[in-house]
Chain length 116, copies 2
């Protein structure tokens, strides 16, 4: 192998926790974005091949890890009324992608000075 | 819940890749340290409740992802002779913990300016 085969890169993943556990990870953020797009937790779940129960549990977890809920459900319940993001939900999405940008920048920069 | 319940932190994990795939992660680095400690791949594997085959595959993978091998096996083969780290193996351990320190610092610093 030529020496370019031994060029190393730092890779990683991140998530955001509260003292109670995971608050936001990429799957949760994509779910929020789908809820915004579809206006419904069940349609958002379906679009991600996720069960309604799983999506509901993730939404419930995010709401409980925040002072203000991220998702407002008009009626709730299986196949129930619409759902929409609150201002806090919008802020959570923005925060996550801002951290992702900084995280990716850190990984790229740290990869520049990797050598054995 | 009081507001300290909504203090968020960025958490994450990282690994080091070559174009061929994973080169170093924390499990591989601990395995290297155990090989240094026990002077044997099989004893190192046992100390981590890892099969010899699994440990050997990880060592083989690390050796192949580097211009110089990280581990030198005196004879090889199951239950065979001793194993020791090469200088490159020592450097890999040092590199990994240096990146870990920078990674942890990034996460702690980025966690200071997280709010919804």
């Amino acid at each position: 192998m030529d020496s370019s085969s031994f060029t190393y890169q730092v890779k990683g993943r991140f998530w955001i926790e509260s003292p109670q556990g995971t608050f936001l990870g990429i799957g949760r953020v994509v779910l929020l974005e789908r809820i915004r797009e579809y206006g419904s937790i069940s349609a958002a779940a379906r679009s991600m091949q996720m069960s309604y129960r799983q999506a509901w549990e993730l939404v419930n977890s995010m709401n409980q890890h925040s002072q203000e809920p991220l998702v407002h459900s008009a009626t709730g319940g299986k196949g129930g009324g619409g759902a929409s993001l609150t201002l806090t939900g919008e802020k959570a999405i923005t925060l996550f992608w801002a951290v992702k940008q900084d995280f990716d920048e850190f990984l790229a920069k740290r990869s520049e000075t990797l050598s054995l």
